[in-house]
């Protein structure tokens, strides 16, 4: 199945690159890999053992680390999730799926899952257009371009904890800078503060997250923009396309792979979100900003219900895995073929 699809992809890629030699920069890497990888591997039959040893030698360290720090903890978490366990002493109290049932029936956890999904959607819905816009602006030649790029990227470079503490202080009701500004212009923030009021807390967290991670989106988009060949712009200019038309018909389609990769990273990051929320609200007030990660940390380290915390972490893992696979399967792949076709059109 996969092989066939890959080959089809490769063929399309190849035909696309045949049709337009300069256009397929983003797809070229993939085309080359599938073209050289298949037959190349089979041809090396004579030196099989040596090649195997070579591969083993180079892969082993990474594989060891992977097994030790990724696979092993996952296996342990799954194991813990079947026990009632206080965090120390031997695992003796096997409870089967009871921990999973109690996690899934827990309003706080289902609330946390909802918050995670809201953050996933909001991050992409806000940061994609905003990031794209700023990236396009910053990609034009203008004065102070370098400085602007740096400023926009600063929040992302700042350590999460520092940024969180700074925002927490800014958002203090009464004594915080933001409340002071609002008062100065005659507006008044919510009495409990933006983070202290269950109605506004999640939205406030999303604003801070946008501020923090917009820089990454812009950086990636700017990098993607460097990959768009100048010839296309020249050709478009000769054809009399407006700036707006150029962006819509050339830049954005060619930025597709970058945007999809960024959205994928953003989605996974949002699902695993912990640190910023922990610093700003600890999941409060009234559980209005809990995420799956804060839930499992609270259950584990605060209440010593490590079985339940492990069950929650396994659920988080499964949710992230399913979403990641669906995304890869439907968005990354289908869009790949679509862009290839579009590119051909552009070339004509």
């Amino acid at each position: 199945m996969i092989d066939v699809a890959d080959e089809a992809n490769a063929q399309q890629g190849a035909s696309a690159s045949a049709a337009t030699s300069t256009l397929t920069v983003p797809v070229a890497g993939r085309t080359m890999r599938s073209a050289a990888g298949g037959p190349g591997g089979r041809r090396a039959g004579g030196n099989n053992t040596r090649k195997g040893l070579e591969i083993a030698f180079f892969v082993a360290p990474a594989l060891l680390l992977f097994v030790f720090f990724v696979v092993w903890p996952i296996v342990k978490a799954v194991q813990f999730s079947f026990y009632r366990w206080k965090g120390y002493g031997p695992l003796v109290d096997f409870v089967g799926l009871k921990n999973y049932v109690s996690v899934l029936n827990n309003d706080v956890f289902t609330g946390a899952l909802q918050h995670n999904l809201i953050i996933v959607v909001a991050s992409i819905a806000i940061q994609l257009p905003l990031g794209l816009l700023i990236a396009l602006l910053l990609n034009r030649r203008m004065r102070g371009q370098g400085m602007l790029r740096t400023i926009i990227f600063v929040p992302y470079v700042l350590a999460e904890v520092i940024a969180g503490v700074v925002w927490f202080q800014l958002l203090q009701p009464k004594y915080g800078v933001i409340d002071a500004w609002l008062d100065a212009v005659g507006l008044h923030g919510p009495e409990q503060g933006f983070l202290g009021d269950p109605k506004y807390a999640l939205a406030t967290v999303i604003v801070v997250l946008t501020w923090k991670y917009l820089g990454l989106a812009i950086l990636l988009f700017l990098a993607g923009l460097q990959g768009v060949p100048d010839e296309l712009y020249e050709a478009a200019q000769i054809d009399g396309a407006s700036w707006w038309q150029v962006q819509r018909k050339i830049t954005i389609p060619l930025l597709g792979p970058t945007m999809r990769t960024w959205a994928f990273l953003s989605m996974i990051g949002s699902l695993q979100l912990f640190d910023m929320v922990w610093i700003l609200t600890k999941g409060g007030p009234a559980n209005s900003t809990t995420t799956m990660a804060t839930f499992l940390v609270t259950e584990g380290t605060k209440r010593s219900n490590y079985g339940i915390a492990s069950a929650a972490s396994v659920i988080l893992f499964v949710v992230a895995l399913i979403l990641a696979l669906l995304y890869q399967r439907f968005i990354m792949r289908r869009d790949n073929t679509v862009t290839v076709i579009k590119k051909k059109k552009v070339a004509r």
Binding site: K86, G87, K174, G196, N305
Partner: protein, 440 residues
Amino acid sequence: MARMRRATAAFALATTVALLAAACSSGDDNEPGTDSTTTSGGGDKDVTITWWHNSNTGDGKTYYDKVAADFEAANPGVTIDVNAMQHEDMVTKLEAAFQAGDAPDVYMERGGGELADHVAAGLTKDISDSAADTIAKLGGSVGGFQVDGKTYALPFSLGVVGFWYNKALFEQAGITDVPTSWDDMYDVIDTLKGAGIEPISVGAGDKWPAAHYWYYFSLRECSEDTLKGAVTSLDFSDPCFVKAGEDLEKLIAAEPFNAGFLTTPAQTGATSASGLLATGKVAIEMQGHWEPGVMQGLTEDGLGLGENTGWFAFPSVDDGEGDPADALGGGDAWAVGANAPDEAVEFAKYLLSDEVQKGFAELDMGLPTNNTASQYVSDPALATLLDVRDKAPYVQLYFDTAFGSAIGGAMNDEIALMFAGQASPQDIVDATQAAADAEK
């Protein structure tokens, strides 16, 4: 000095006992590494004791460093590895150490369900015999640190929760008497508000400071027998617990708390509940006996509220079944890790000696449990508190500690929801009962 010499003698005796024990047993119960040195020789062998404490600022830290140095000087060959940490950091690190099955040699226990869990997991040393003389001296206060009649830790500071207030702000608002009933308290709240002062700060972001209100109302509404019964039977069906929730609901409805209290941390930073009191932004905060020390750490001059620090007990409620003199409190005790060398027990005993407790009291680091030291508590506010503690017919350990973190956590979360207006008195009881049933 005499005391120290006696400690040395006791130490010599202890090593002899240890030697005998080592000769009889195979020595398997000792972990390899530093611990094995205890059993293999007398005072000439080097022993390192790790000691974790939470007096990480100012005079307290200096004093504890001196205490460790004194003990080292009196016991050649003993090195004390002192780790002073901020309280929450220490708790987190202790959890991690327990998970690794490797508790520090001398560390803090808070009693209740937590200690029972540690004992059940074999992490804490039974010191009933090795510290018998100290235990006898401390008397009833050891009770909270016993499991099945055996003593596992030596309480060095036992305090009660109450209202800390800013005398200057009270004066400014024209309040002359501290409230003794909740009717008085509501008058105080109104008067403070009228004077443009935020009445009370509460660190509901950390949940437990908010939960203490419900604990205290329960203590006033429920009889001692009901509370003691609840700790053992985990039954919260008595209507007094719902009444406590109703009292709390009424208090929250009066809006006495600082702006943003739902995310206010307990005692970290100037905008925490303690910070607001220390910097004169609010008039009152309900907090434990450690508050003056915390406030000192939160002000630039290192004085906290200084001479404006006042303290009054939790006011009485009308028709409550509890004795109005009962107090909510708890304490810290020095426990010895299961694998610690015998010198660690000696060190824990030394920490409870008249001499060390005297210095402890003089620096207002806590409320000494060694009666000979009570007279040295110089701070007038702490002296008031100590008086209330000593006169209380019954001191209820903080519920979250008494019931253990699983039940306590569920209870605190639900109480915090009430502060956000999202839980009813019955919800608190139900959530607590559900968590308790899951533990049975």
